[in-house]
Point group: C2
């Protein structure tokens, strides 16, 4: 994140408070936090015996998986657009 | 993840072993794990005092942020494609 004008938000994720700093709007930071919180709760519902640390890592794994899928879709769309040019 | 043919991989993330199960290829699972591992190490280098759990949550926050940015780019590309149709 850049060192220009920075915003700071205190967000609550899975019962823990985090201080998030960055050039993004506070509402963006809150959306990000709420997605992470929601994903942690989803994964914890399915695996109630997970400790907090494993739960957080599995959440990161899930999000990276979603990211890579979206990246593939993005690249497919890009190729489609190039064909049209 | 679907319940069809499933693969299972044991991956190493930040010194901990995780068992990952899903319909994706094992090489995809390993790529995902290695991205999470790399991000955790990047964030830990910048914030050496973070405990493991906060580090993992901050990693998830970072990835969700990247995901939302890519989603915006994807939607912009989609609109561009619609204009061309």
């Amino acid at each position: 994140m850049s060192d220009e004008r920075k915003n700071k938000a205190i967000v609550d994720i899975y019962g823990q408070q985090f201080s998030v700093v960055g050039p993004e709007s506070i509402s963006h930071m809150r959306s990000v936090a709420s997605i992470v919180d929601e994903k942690m709760r989803e994964i914890s519902d399915k695996n109630p015996s997970l400790d907090l640390n494993k739960l957080a890592v599995l959440t990161a794994i899930n999000v990276v998986h979603d990211y890579l899928k979206l990246k593939e879709d993005y690249e497919a769309l890009e190729s489609l657009l190039e064909e049209k040019d």
